[in-house]
Amino acid sequence: MTNFYRDNSDLKFHLDNPLMKRIVELKERNYKIDEKEYYGKDKLAPNEYKPCHFEDAVDSYDQVLEIVGDITGEIIAPNAEGVDLEGARLENNRVHYAAGTVENLNALKQARLMGVTQPRKYGGLNFPTTVYSMMVEMVSRGDASLMNLFGLQDIGETVREFADDETKAKYIPRFASGEATGAMILTEPDAGSDLQAVQLKAHYEESTGLWRLNGVKRFITNGNAELSLVLARTEEGTKDGRGLSMLLYERDDTVQIRRIENKMGIHGSPTCEMVFKNSPAILIGKRKFGLIKYVMSLMNGARLGVSGQAIGIAEAAYREALKYAQEREQFGKIINQFAPVFEILTDMKTKISALRTLYYETARFVDIYKTLEEIEHERALTPEEKNELKQFKRRADFYTPLIKGLSSEACNRIAYDAIQIHGGTGFTKDFPVERLYRDARITSIYEGTTQLQVIAAIKGVTSGLFGEMMDEYTSRKISYDLEFMLKELKVMKKEYESAIEYVESFKDQEYTDFHARRLVEMTGNIIMGHLLLLDAERDQRFKVTTEVFIKKAKAENTDRLLVIKEIEPDFLNNYKELTKI
């Protein structure tokens, strides 16, 4: 029996994080939720499965994660190869999933895992995002492409955040039961990274009270979904993001799926090109808030999901590499006894631990602010709560692009290295690493490229939020035997400060943009170092991991500082010159 939860004790460790107490208390409204109304279809009423106290809730998370561990290890992972080979396909305007994908979704549906974070009154489990994020990681470790369908729970989440009560009661139970899958329909041929350029038109039809959609969308994951959120231009004559609104479209015959992309990886996830012809839709939330508010929220959820996907792929790749290196003999020794091999393996492992701790820290931040936002709809928040909401939202907005950028890039590197460990056999289709390598590639592209994540994260770096986090982390108690690492981190911070001071001294935006990624990566290393150190404080087994990570990260940061100091603003001209047409 392979269980992806029980065989990875890091997950349980993060489930036991001290901040969980506050999260569950908020999520369960002090364990006083009494849901009389129920909109779901299950025979279970909300009150029948609510937790009675903190320990009860965490025990449920733990055991439900074990169920997910079982499904991912026993059903999803064994199906992955078949799903990759068969892929999703388009026939007569209908998308068909691979047989393995159908089986996977069915198991997840039967286990009631398609509305993990939704309130119980809508048929969900009312679990924190942190727990859901663990599921995303496990699902991705089993089959990265399935995460694109499992992770679409964010669509229902966005409906819950912004739709009116009637819409919520009507649609969320369908998401939560798994009866309806979702899609977020944003991208167009000429509006990719720049969503302000979205052109798909929506006009209001007085006679029916519905909106009508007309236009083309492209690169839509699961475009065949039953329920989709569409970003469309409702304000005629506008050209920017302020003319865009969010609409809910239910699948019918008015949309033609013109083709699905023939992709390098994640074959199980259909990527659709869609033509809308007078397709009916209803408005979600307020007009003109589509891009500036709702998509930003939706996108942040999706970015966290892709981070989990990247970490899941990295975990799978690392395990494959480790297994191979422990079995393969050359020159009379198993190959993981050779320094060049064990260096790679150890770097993979420490990198994954570092990313994972940042990933779950981010998820916890999201939990606190989103749940407080939810509570704000029910009652007025106290001044302390308002402050807490604001603080954690800022933190989540900083960490989300940070982890998305860092984890997706690292995941590509780890998949690359996993093939390297395998040598020639890794280049064949006989081992799963080549699939992992192909699946990994998209993570640093979709939901915003790494370059865009850097732009989003640099705000946190320059706004003083990074310093605030540093103060917070250094104020926590560290045991005497770990203090030497805290000192190292302080040196890294000094070095980083000199880097940013140097860059900012030129007051040149293009120059700042040029080095932004280096700056963001430097902060990422310092933050992950601190988080790992706090993990080591809670559990000694992270001590060596932290030591190894900090050693490498410190050297990497020094490297980046050197590049920054070597390449001054004037030198950018050489860069432009060489690639001019």
């Binding site: 029948e48 009675c52 198991a107």
Partner: protein, 291 residues
């Protein structure tokens, strides 16, 4: 009236993951060293029951298991997958039962539950591998039995059609209900546990378990919620004859236990000509492998 299905399920030591300490020096199973699991073919049986419930809508699934107090896990695990309730037959006086004594006790419990349409169980348990308890129970209850079931083709009140998996093919047969069906491992695997049902039933307890529970919240909620009570059945509840239960009711006597170590040798490959096959047969008969 709801269609009532009784599923016979057993908690067994996980003999599929046998390590060195799995056997005691006297040749009996060292239960402490092996994790206790849901007998695999009983899970196939539960899935068949659940599919009938899905199809019919108005059906009730009752789990019946026999074992030590910790076998209540089997009932909870079934409830997490949508079984409705369960009975644990537990009493020190049942200890040492072979298949005859076991099927006697089970048939008594089935009679006590009463009013059933179908009894369904796994073909055999991985600890004893006898495949006797199901058929013996059917005989004692004097109802038809269908063994080696792979699929319930159709079912309605009073009638069931079953596809059987046999050595050289399949067979579809129909019988009147009530009947007992034993399910083969080639049947559909059991569905995963349902997260919501897990949370609903995780505090379900037997009276024995409640005695050692010190969480007031949970104690209280079990008392308030009828569905969280797992009933225990003892010798007295079932009105069993003392000489038919436990060691006394078990004619099976173990004469001797041999530890057989199978040694893998090179395979012998022969061509598919009549002479070579004939020669092989001759060789096997001569060395007493056959005949």
């Amino acid at each position: 009236m709801a269609f009532r299905i009784i599923v016979l399920a057993k908690q067994v030591p996980d003999t599929r993951n046998v390590k060195e300490d799995a056997m005691k020096s006297d040749g009996t199973v060292n239960r402490a060293a092996l994790p206790a699991i849901y007998n695999p073919e009983d899970l196939n049986a539960l899935e068949q029951a659940l599919q009938i419930k899905d199809r019919m809508g108005d059906a009730e699934i009752i789990i019946l298991t026999m074992g030590p107090p910790r076998a209540a896990d089997i009932i909870r695990e079934s409830m997490y997958r949508d079984a409705d309730k369960g009975y644990l037959i537990t009493d020190r006086r049942f200890a040492g039962a072979d298949t005859l004594a076991t099927s006697y006790v089970i048939s008594k419990a089935v009679e006590k539950i009463g009013n059933y349409d179908l009894i369904i169980s796994g073909r055999q348990a991985i600890d004893g591998d006898t495949a006797q308890v199901g058929p013996q129970t059917a005989e004692k209850l004097n109802i038809p039995q269908i063994t080696y079931a792979e699929e319930v083709v159709s079912v309605e009140k009073g009638k069931i059609k079953i596809k059987r998996r046999l050595e050289r093919g399949v067979e579809v047969i129909e019988t009147a209900l009530p009947a007992l069906v034993t399910v083969h491992g080639s049947a559909a695997p059991c569905r995963p546990k349902n997260a919501k049902l897990f949370m609903k039933y995780k505090h379900a307890k037997t009276p024995t378990e409640l005695q050692t529970l010190d969480d007031d919240y949970i104690n209280q909620s079990v008392k308030n919620k009828l569905y969280l009570n797992i009933e225990e059945l003892s010798v007295d509840d079932l009105d069993c004859e003392a000489e038919k239960i436990g060691l006394a009711g078990s004619p099976t006597k173990v004469k001797k236990i041999d530890s057989v170590v199978l040694q893998g040798k090179d395979a012998k490959i022969i061509n598919d000509s009549d002479t070579e096959v004939k020669d092989l047969m001759k060789e096997l008969i001569t060395n007493h492998t056959l005949g």
